[in-house]
């Protein structure tokens, strides 16, 4: 099969087309817009049998996606950043309905200050909502993840909506060779949606979105959703094996790269992991035993697979492209919590914050992170969390502040 050059957004749209969706509520936002535009063209040209409506906001868009899914049809929608946050009320609400659909989030950093460029604070804000999360590092993975997400979310053991995340700009607008499954292959993997009991039908009335008071029923339903999410782990592994049989592409909940004999490991999400792999190859040539561990599935959190990958490692450099203000890297906190009780846990976890608001993480910075982590492992002393930020950047920042007339607090 010959690969096609597709952007991450184009790959997402291809995946959606192959999934044979029925309904698409949409609202434009950079850098996601190309996805809904591409789908709009296919729908208008009669190449996709699907209904599409541009809503008045993301809040209405996610509401419409959830209610449509609750009637038992296959639904897709996409957003970014402020859009995801504006719809956050409905993100929690529709997840509780247990009506599956797929939402592609093209990661973009949040206000303030306003920016268009990516980091992961937007998608991580949906961390506790009940949506499952698949994080992609290549355009191929984006296409495949959309198909996997429908199978996963619609599985009767799961029945939850899924966010497929790709990094704005770095993936959304970058063209990479992508193998597009044939319609037949996609259909073999993803049958038409069988909503089971999830439907609206006259003569068989159901009441959705009912209020519960007193806490007992609430606790029951919330915990049920949690168990369904946990259940999605084994379902994900199962469907990935099936996907491999059809397409030959291997996916696991956690990607490990040169980890078997590694002493030092980078731990991170998303597209920057491809740069980390490059750094790993370079560092290996210098004799340093380095590897990479990247969760594809972030919700549910694939704890056991991560623990296995990191067993007996000397040090882990956790690279967070997010910042929980007043705490630090979110991934670092997540990782620490699953390792604490493990006997074979790595000696040190070193926290790095980088790539905020579209800032690059250079290969040299990966070398530096490896060096700091080796040093920490040898000395047994964990350094304080560190923001990847160069002297040159700080000098430029000071220059800009002097133009603006420095009135920011704390300076």
């Amino acid at each position: 099969m010959k690969p096609t050059l597709l952007t991450g957004n184009g790959a997402a749209a291809r995946g959606v087309r192959l999934a044979g969706i029925d309904y698409l509520p949409a609202f434009p936002i950079t850098p996601q817009t190309e996805i809904i535009e591409t789908l709009a063209q296919w729908i208008q040209a009669g190449e996709m049998d699907c209904r599409m409506v541009t809503m008045d906001s993301e809040h209405s868009m996610i509401t419409a996606a959830g209610t449509a899914a609750a009637t038992g049809v296959r639904v897709f929608t996409a957003t970014s950043s402020q859009g995801l946050l504006y719809g956050m009320e409905m993100i929690y609400t529709v997840a509780g309905w247990r009506a599956p659909f797929v939402l592609v989030n093209v990661s973009r950093a949040l206000s303030s200050p306003i920016t268009l460029e990516p980091d992961h604070n937007d998608v991580l804000a949906a961390r506790d909502s009940g949506f499952l999360q698949i994080h992609c590092s290549t355009c191929q993975e984006v296409l495949d993840a959309v198909l996997l997400a429908y199978r996963l979310g619609e599985d009767e053991r799961v029945r939850l909506p899924v966010i497929v995340n790709l990094d704005g700009y770095y993936l959304s607008f970058t063209r990479e060779p992508v193998l597009i499954p044939s319609r037949k292959e996609a259909a073999r993997f993803l049958a038409p949606y069988d909503p089971g009991e999830t439907h609206f039908r006259a003569g068989d009335p159901v009441s959705q979105g009912v209020a519960v008071l007193g806490g007992s029923q609430y606790s029951y339903f919330r915990y049920e959703t949690h168990l369904a999410s946990i259940q999605a782990l084994s379902v994900f592994n199962e469907i990935c094996r099936e996907y491999e049989k059809i397409t030959g592409r291997v996916y696991e909940a956690v990607e490990g790269y040169r980890t078997t004999d590694a002493e030092i490991v980078f731990f991170m999400l998303g597209s920057f992991a491809t740069k980390a792999k490059d750094a790993v190859d370079h560092l290996r040539k210098t004799g340093l035993k380095v590897g990479l561990v990247r969760p594809r599935l972030f919700r549910p959190f694939p704890a056991q697979a991560i623990i296995r990958h990191l067993a007996d490692k000397k040090g882990v450099a956790v690279v967070d492209q997010n910042l929980s203000q007043g705490k630090g890297g979110i991934l670092h906190a997540e990782l620490s919590s699953i390792l604490y009780n493990e006997e074979r846990r790595p000696c040190v976890l070193v926290s790095f914050i980088g790539g905020l608001g579209g800032r690059d993480i250079s290969v040299e910075e990966f070398f530096e992170m490896a060096r700091v982590t080796v040093q920490a492992a040898e000395s047994g002393k964990t350094p304080a969390p560190r923001l990847l930020y160069t002297h040159e950047e700080l000098a430029r920042m000071r220059g800009l502040q002097s133009i603006a007339g420095n009135r920011s607090p704390g300076h």
């Binding site: 817009t33 535009e37 402020q82 504006y86």
Partner: protein, 280 residues
């Protein structure tokens, strides 16, 4: 003349810091910016007492260029930011610049309620009939039948009339202008800022890049000509039959009424409460 233009530019724009601007060559938003600072200069308002807030999109960028107190906020919320500022400090002149998507889609609710409350704010709504910055998706003011990236075979929804919406929602002053009729626009904005109560100035602007290009008006001149040919002053419109008015739009002052503004009424309550305190 040139000296006058330079004076105004240097006085009101962050001319040495923020330019060149981000708008496409020929974009009408620059004309709106020019009108706005001329109106402010004409009224002799102190820069320190002025606040300019915007939402998101091409219009959202406007506060970056002016030397007032400025705020570039989130999509659709500009009016709520302005509400907070005005109520906390009623002595400030608060101007809010929004686009058609900002004001009538994602922020539509804020818009009608600000008008209903008759907050003493000035809303300048730059209507280019499209989501320009994100790539030309249809907005609530995209005309029926026209093309956009999300309606490539013709738009099947009907457009809002922003000015009519403002009138029905209770605004004290509502006007519509275009970037072709600039001297008139200066006056409409000036009157809107002066007006006590909620004032709305809808400004029809050319987005030849995203709207015009898909609707056989791919350059600014053609779009300007369209404004020239289709705009009818409110005075003339009164003398025209519905048939003659078909396909046209009116420009000028659509509503100018006096009624108590929220800001005034709120102050009265405060004064009364303070009076009672003194007595007891």
């Amino acid at each position: 003349m040139i000296a006058e233009i330079t004076r105004i530019r240097h006085k009101y724009l962050r001319h040495d810091k923020k330019f060149p601007h981000v708008w496409c060559p020929g974009c009408g938003i620059g004309i709106v910016l020019g009108s706005l600072i001329r109106a402010i200069d004409g009224l002799g308002l102190a820069k320190n007492d002025l606040v300019l807030a915007s939402g998101i999109g091409c219009s959202g960028r406007l506060p970056a260029y002016v030397d007032f107190n400025t705020l570039h906020t989130t999509h659709g919320r500009a009016l709520t930011f302005s509400t907070g500022i005005k109520l906390a400090n009623p002595s400030l002149n608060v101007l809010t610049v929004m686009g058609d998507g900002d004001a009538t889609a994602i922020g539509g609710n804020h818009f009608i309620h600000a008008a209903r409350r008759n907050l003493n704010l000035t809303a300048i709504i730059i209507n280019n009939q499209i989501y320009g910055m994100t790539g030309g998706q249809y907005s609530p003011t995209t005309p029926y039948g026209s093309n956009s990236t999300t309606s490539p075979y013709g738009h099947i929804e009907h457009a809002f009339s922003i000015a009519d919406l403002a009138v029905t929602s209770g605004a004290s002053y509502v006007a519509r202008g275009t970037v072709y009729h600039v001297p008139a626009l200066d006056k409409l904005i000036s009157r809107g800022i002066e007006k006590e109560g909620f004032s709305v100035i809808e400004i029809m602007t050319n987005c030849h890049t995203q709207y015009g290009r898909r609707n056989e008006m791919s350059d600014p001149v053609t779009m300007m000509k369209w404004f020239k040919d289709h705009a009818v002053t409110t005075t003339r419109a009164k003398k025209m039959s519905p048939e003659e008015l078909k396909g046209k739009f009116s420009i000028g002052v659509l509503t100018d009424i006096d009624k108590p503004s929220y800001t005034e009424e709120y102050q009265k309550i405060r004064d009364r409460a303070k009076g009672r305190e003194v007595k007891s």
